[in-house]
Amino acid sequence: MAFDNLSDRLQQALKKVTRRGALNEHDIETMMREVRLSLLEADVNFKVVKEFTNEVKQKALGEKVLKSLTPGQQVVKIVHEELKQIMGDVAENLTFKIQGTTVFMLAGLNGAGKTTHAGKLALYCRKKYNKKPLLVAADVYRPAAIDQLVTIGKQLNIPTFEMGTTVTPIEIVEKALSYAKENHFDLVIIDTAGRFHINEELMLELKNIKEVAKPDEILLTVDAMTGQDAVNVAKSFHDQLAVSGVVLTKLDGDTRGGAALSIRKVTGVPIKFMGLGEKLDQLEVFHPERMASRILGMGDVLSLIEKAQDAIDEEEAELMAKKFQNATFDYNDFVKQIRQIKRLGNLKGFLKLIPGLGSQLKNIDIDEDQFNYILAIINSMTEKERKNPDIINLSRKQRIAKGSGRDISEVNRMTKQFEEMRKMMKKMMNMNPKDMERMMNGMNKPGGMKPTGHTSHSKGKGKNRGRRAPWQ
């Protein structure tokens, strides 16, 4: 994808207009086109995009943007603010009964993550509100859905009420409620079967469950990867059940999650939670701020951390730590480390996620190719050289330079850096904790490997930079 985030898009669009000095309405129009595209690529519903861009356009036409020296940033700011506002500035809380048993009910399409999130919610409420929850298995259709909920319950040490698959969901819910009362559970979480919003029979069943259970919360569970159809689904469930909140699941992937905006805008139902993983404690209160950045493809610190965690291979990391300790770190390990860094994707994009750094990075051209050069140099070494970095003398260096097509000075710089790194590791590993602490404080700045020297080398515009933006 050529232009992942709105900032880049607008920058690109502005290149064509800024030379003429002040912006005019037509320029704003051009920028709105980029906003529109960016949102569409994030799966925001088409109609919502239209309305949204119209609103933003009105705001953007204000003096500020037109006269600003950084109109692109201004527009991003307006869009970001607007997104945040639509998705709800304040987090909405769950509703609990003051006395008696509170009932939550989960509903949604097949595979959205209802069963998992029934478990997550139970854990969350026990931890945060000190509740005694009971899970209720009312999905009698999907094979082994009940087993799944029971297993989850066992993992959390939370009881699950189930009556097998031969009883109707209504009956299960009725019995579960009286069971909860008798056994002093103050929170009942009902897991229902996944269904299409257009399946009248099954939607009727949900309405009947609602009738019987009189839930304090009806939480619609929606997969964050849902496309344009999210609006139809949410609207239909909301019309039929009067949903009180949305749980947006699978946000730990790389989806931009535009569905969040669509749902909120069309139904007005607040998004209350986000699911961030398969582990049962990976549930968080919805952050409009984070979501707004994410929809615009601009990331945030938290997703940065998550990204780094996901990209690092646990086993490899462990092995590496051992090598550090024994000071047996060689070029083969160095290659592995570089690969790991590269796995984080575009380094510049990655660094941009750090707030404040993004704007500073604008003038620095991180040459991603540097990594490839280093790899090429190492690849030109013999296996023996890679394992025994100390044997690399001048004549070997000359051969390596030739083999990799790099200058000998580059080979020198690389080997020197590598040696320094090794020395540092040896030192660190042999230090007592106190010294270590002192040293860390002394460094106190982002350390680790940096691509060699070379800043601002406006060599080649990068593969993606000069390309025509879609819809231009």
Binding site: D43, F196, H197, D223, R256, P470
Partner: protein, 335 residues
């Protein structure tokens, strides 16, 4: 234009005039049409309305077309490509009447899908030995259910099938597959929850060889494509299968939920990197989502769709047929 006329003709002929082949085609088309009734409803009746409200082909019409395709989740890049090409066609061939324009649109969709290739939607079954099918995808798309349906289909075609419960992670996944195996009437090789999925595959392959199984269907845990460690686990599963059976897995099927938006493209890329995906199973097309992202995937990555599923019954699975799919989307226009 041929394809469009073909289908249209079948529906215009009376029952008696049809050849046997045409009858089959019509039956299948009707099934798709029924399955996709809801999908069609929202977007495609807009298409029909669109043509009724315009008498000239102009930029506004193209803009609206763009919207309609976007609404089907076809994806920004592919939609742009379609619309650009349509504009060029209209200009070059000096097309003015709506009827011709409609058929050009449909032909363009075919073209985007077919790409001058013979699209192989059949499974790559190894006729003299064991065939292994690996099912991969993100969480909740319907992998396990699809395995049940594909196994049933293959069994009813006379194949001896077996399942391998490679989702050892999600609670209840093994039981879920076992229930499907019972329904199909085939063996299901399992190991306790938490086992290494690759070891399940190894065991299942040995069993399959011993029992002269024709097709082994391997389930895997759902995983988001951004999880490096989980993707590596999948690579290992793939490696073990290809080590134990030469040229296996003959097919790696990426299961994609029709409600999926643009993320489907990332899924297709990442899973192809890890396991060399050979085809797509598009699930849940009986809802209101169109699953248009698979057209974009086909367009950008060349992956064909092999199956579509449309319901919770064991028989709710069809070999994918692009003509029928597009007919399902556009059938308002045919009648």
């Amino acid at each position: 234009m041929g394809l469009f006329k073909n289908i249209k003709n079948i529906f215009n002929k009376s029952e008696k005039q049809l050849s046997n082949e045409e009858k089959q085609m019509r039956e299948k088309a009707l099934k798709y049409k029924k399955g996709m009734e809801k999908s069609r409803g929202t977007v495609m009746s807009r298409l029909k309305a669109l043509f009724e409200s315009y008498d000239v082909i102009n930029d506004d019409l193209f803009d609206e077309l763009e919207e309609i395709f976007i609404m089907a989740d076809i994806g920004v890049n592919t939609v742009l490509e379609i619309v650009d090409q349509l504009k060029a066609d209209v200009r070059m061939r000096e097309i003015e009447d709506m009827e011709t324009f409609q058929s050009i649109i449909i032909d363009k969709m075919f073209e985007i899908y077919v790409k001058d290739e013979i699209v192989n939607t059949n499974l790559n079954i190894n006729e003299d030995g064991l065939t292994v099918l690996l099912f991969v995808g993100v969480n909740g798309v319907g992998k396990t259910t699809s395995i049940g349906k594909v196994a049933y289909k293959l069994k009813s075609e006379g194949k001896k099938v077996m399942m391998a419960a490679g989702d050892t992670f999600r609670a209840g996944a093994i039981d879920q597959l076992k229930i499907w195996a019972e329904r199909v009437g085939c063996a299901c090789i399992t190991k306790p929850a938490g086992s290494d999925p690759a070891s399940v595959m190894y065991e299942a392959i040995q069993q399959a060889k011993q029992h002269n199984i024709d097709v082994l269907l391997c389930d895997t845990a759902g995983r988001l494509q951004t999880k490096v460690n989980l993707m590596k686990e999948l690579e290992k599963v793939y490696r073990v299968i290809s080590r134990e059976v030469p040229s296996a897995p003959q097919d790696t099927l990426l299961v994609i939920d029709a409600t999926t938006g643009q993320n489907g493209m990332n899924q297709a890329k990442a899973f192809t990197d890890a396991t060399q995906v050979t085809g797509i199973v598009l699930t849940k097309i009986d809802g209101t989502a169109k699953g248009g992202i698979v057209l974009a995937i086909r367009n950008e990555l060349g992956l064909p769709i092999k199956f579509v599923t449309m319901g919770e019954q064991i028989t709710d699975l069809e070999y994918f047929d692009i003509e029928q799919y597009i007919y399902g989307l556009f059938s308002d226009m045919f009648e």
